[in-house]
Symmetry: D2
């Protein structure tokens, strides 16, 4: 049984484990003030081409979203999220638990456009309603779609014109930036958003996300918020060591590229078989529409999510590849698909 | 420079890292539903002699306290903590951030007694004040003192008679249960409190605390709270693998005992030199009163906290040993002390 | 200029002011423990035919919703509201500010049906999402529609079968219970919901809503929640005196009936003129679709809300009558309408 | 039985009720946007000598404190209160329910001094603790003591030097500013603090406090906070009409002065009888130490709080006068005291 269920089914990339072993008995300060974390920050700044951003390592994605959003907003301010956004759907009300409403906009393919934001602004006019203040997007989205530079620039421009903060959930940012059709770079992202995070957990790390705060006004006292929400790990080095390894060369992008390549291979094989998709998703998640009969056969050897029913005979499934997916497994999977179609 | 600063200065015990390596490429479910975590739960239940407790792994101590306390309390209910309790002093208002007041009681040597609780209850009489509902204690305390079985039983009895929940922060529970003078066992703790946690971070793990919920009424829906506070790690196996290793034999207690033995060795050496202490602390933290001259000399080779000033000439320092402290380093430290006195 | 803008444009019914005058210099206990409030509670219980319900007076509607919902829910639980519900649209995120997500369901004419709830339950399946727990409805709704006994009974049955709490916002409950087509009574409401409030502010009082808690399990410690949210007025008598007056005979229902009668008179006149409505609303709010030309003429003498655009030529307006609306004004308004059509 | 229990035992001053009657049927906008409220704001600004302050009317004191403090603070920031402060003792955890810790300082006679604040600042040094940001004081205090201009100026200077906000709870500000020994004026208060409120409830109004925001940076979006916390009354005019009456001439100060005069009369009579006091309190609350025998006799005809036990034979009682206390009652009370001593 092989799992195409998600991109966090295994441990960490071997180089990361080796780095943990190599540094294990060095004594350091706690709470992210160790030299490994500081070096990791510098390495990421280099990739961003920005020495002025603040970078904080936080164990998980829900936690990063929650800490950032609650730190950035005043009590009456709200976040705008696409209907499919992780903060709206899959964080158990974490944002609301910090006191803030999540306003949803329908969006397209998991993405928001300026016109979606305009509608929200038009609807919220006085103090009887919350004040929309932060725009939450994810890249890649929960549906595997990505933002082009043009799309992100348009959003960014709209946000700056309307005093909205733009925040990007980058749980799968590596995948987005190495996907077919992507024309964004890490420095572009840093220029266009107020804050974003670079996901480690779904790209080869054991745990850890790197929150990047670009907007000067959002930086002050940020470590208080991390601590207050329980995310300031005593052994913060655990995250520093991992991100140092991911960014000391190109490992971070290589791992994401590997996942994308294999998702692409499956996608093309399915297209050749005449398969339709829920949407075009260039990242490491694909959503083919398969006959239920094929699904049942595949499930004997492969695990994956059934995403939604299409009709009596067909369903959308979600297939996820990762840094750890072996190409040989993908080849066997494709061979099996060909037998079943 | 050797650090007696705290018990989380290094990575993890080598057996734990080896376990991470050995399991690294196995694919599992996420969010703590992997077989490693499940096995770790069973192993801890065996040590507790209780198959009916719920056990959840949570990355850090502040987070565990915050999730447990906010899940257990209704909005108008408050926690009672000793003045020196971690939730009062060193969690950046994490409990209050979930909406609950922390009421402090002076206590003695970092510990609470029934008479402290009685005073709090006497003072809180109607709906113009919060309703005291949960008693927070730590064992070992932040001052290295421990609860005897008699003391914990008396607190437990008082709490049950007064509808108070008793919660124990066990960041250093290993140290408490292996300390000189301790007569408590893990099963005793589970019998006497409503919930507690077994600290991994300060006893050889990379991260992770094992929250044990003994009171049936506190168990329902608990995973929702973990998720909502951002602590349900995608790779929950990271904690399961570590706790499986700590509890598959006696490693957890051996590591704590090692730390205690070395703290004891330093303590006895200081006593022999005529040194006084802030308090008698049998756990792996000791608080000797040293001449400032001696402190200045020691600081050339050793790092540690200066806890408080005593008078113009003397200060209390905090010395912490851990599972990772080499005995040879302790011997050299003692030799240096003897030269300086 | 006469305002059909809302039902809180004037002060209080003269009998209520007189009651305030008559009792003014009597000294009483504060915080709702005065004899006037206690008598008001008993009078309402009589009308409900229930001596076992708890009744609390709270200054405003948003406040009542917020206190009740946050007191009834645990942190991970959410409220379900129709898309047009007051807590979703017009309370500035008050529910989220207490930590709880508001899940919306489309509903019909501002009302929820069991099938709406079923869809929400189907979507929320595990701890990665909030747990739907409380159903918020208003009666009359924000659109002037009302629940029949059959509709409310079906909702109530569904809620009890699915461990959902049913909560009714009764800001305009008087209007609902005296509307054409209503077959619910106050005792019915108390039987079918877990808690609801009887609105005073929009039915002749200066301020005040009477929260009725029917479900035994929701009663405990409720005054703590009122106090904690700042709603336990020192001069709680202010609300007791008013509700005593409203319920000492039939004044509460007479005032609501007056408002409904006049709304009905306008509605019938408009129907006679061939006017269409946004929806059929038997309560004291009506939403006729008027030519923009007519609206512009009416606005010279009357104030009211323009609710939404229909097309280039027509808009929906909202007309609200109240206990204080003089019949003569309504007659003049109708005459003017006839001139303009 | 006459009550010296508190200063909110009666309704409102007759002039206030008359104003409610006179304006009752005028139609106005809701939510404080009526002309009465606007006029009241202008009248208060005149008394303050400041046209640049923002003024909001809020139903109660706990609510005002909670809304102001939670609006002014970011999540990790805390309020400092004297040990006896209302927010610490008698608001059922309202501040903590908005997520903020209340740090207590002992103070003297219910008042804070710069050295109290310095101690708090010295103790809070990094992100493991909350960040002290707002200083809460009350004037008159809960013990009837008052701040002199020198004392308030020193506090104000300290706060400005240390980036602390200074907030004054003025539930009994009228009493403070008309007390013997007071040298503060309303304009002084507005100059020295960042925000404060002028209490109506305890000085002749039915309900209502006037929050005055002096610091420009605290003004933005404030009505959102009032709405979100449920305090934006539909009939906001209720408060506007009352404050218009209190400040259209000198009524506000005359009522407070009346209460102070009568408290002073009792105080002097007790001093003449050789009675000791818990503290010197020039406002309308006094705390004489009386023999239990005398207390028992007085309780036959008068209600008041027994504050605390002094020894086997004596207790402190709290006597409160108000705008409504008749001088004749005070004279009888004094005569009775003379009989009993």
């Amino acid at each position: 049984m092989y799992r195409f269920t998600n991109d966090y089914s295994e441990g960490a990339h071997p180089r990361i484990l080796q780095a943990l072993l190599d540094t294990n008995m060095e004594q350091t300060d706690g709470y992210g003030e160790d030299p490994f974390s500081q070096e990791a920050v510098e390495l990421i700044r280099l990739k961003l081409g920005r020495s002025d951003v603040d970078i904080h390592f936080i164990p998980g994605g829900t936690q990063t979203n929650m800490i950032a959003i609650s730190a950035f907003l005043r009590p009456h301010e709200a976040a705008i999220s696409p209907q499919t956004g992780h903060i709206e759907v899959h964080e158990a009300g974490a944002i609301e638990a910090t006191g803030h409403k999540v306003i949803t906009a329908p969006g397209v393919d998991g993405k928001l456009r300026p016109e979606d934001l305009q509608e929200v602004l038009d609807f919220h006019q006085d103090e009887h309603m919350v004040k929309p203040r932060l725009v939450y997007i994810s890249n890649a989205t929960e549906l595997g779609s990505i933002y082009t530079k043009g799309e992100l620039s348009a959003l960014s421009r709209f946000c700056r014109e309307h005093q909205l903060l733009l925040y990007m959930d980058g749980a799968r940012l590596g995948s987005a930036l190495t996907a077919d059709g992507n024309d964004l770079t890490l420095p572009d992202v840093a220029d266009l958003v107020d804050a974003f995070y670079i996901g480690g957990t779904k790209n080869g790390a054991l745990i850890g996300e790197a929150l990047v705060i670009c907007n000067e006004q959002l930086k002050e006292d940020f470590r208080f918020h991390i601590k207050q929400k329980g995310a300031l790990l005593a052994k913060g080095r655990l995250m520093g060591i991992q991100f140092r390894e991911l960014f000391r060369d190109n490992l971070f992008f290589e791992l994401a590229d590997h996942a994308n390549q294999l998702a692409g291979k499956i996608r093309r094989a399915l297209q050749d078989l005449g398969c339709q998709f829920l949407l075009a998703s260039p990242a490491n998640l694909i959503f083919p529409i398969l006959p239920n009969r094929v699904i049942a056969e595949l499930q004997k050897d492969y695990a994956f999510l059934i995403w939604q029913k299409v009709d009596q005979e067909n369903s959308v499934v979600r297939l996820v590849t990762s840094w750890a997916t072996p190409e040989a497994v993908v080849d066997q999977f494709i061979a099996r698909l060909r037998e079943l179609f």
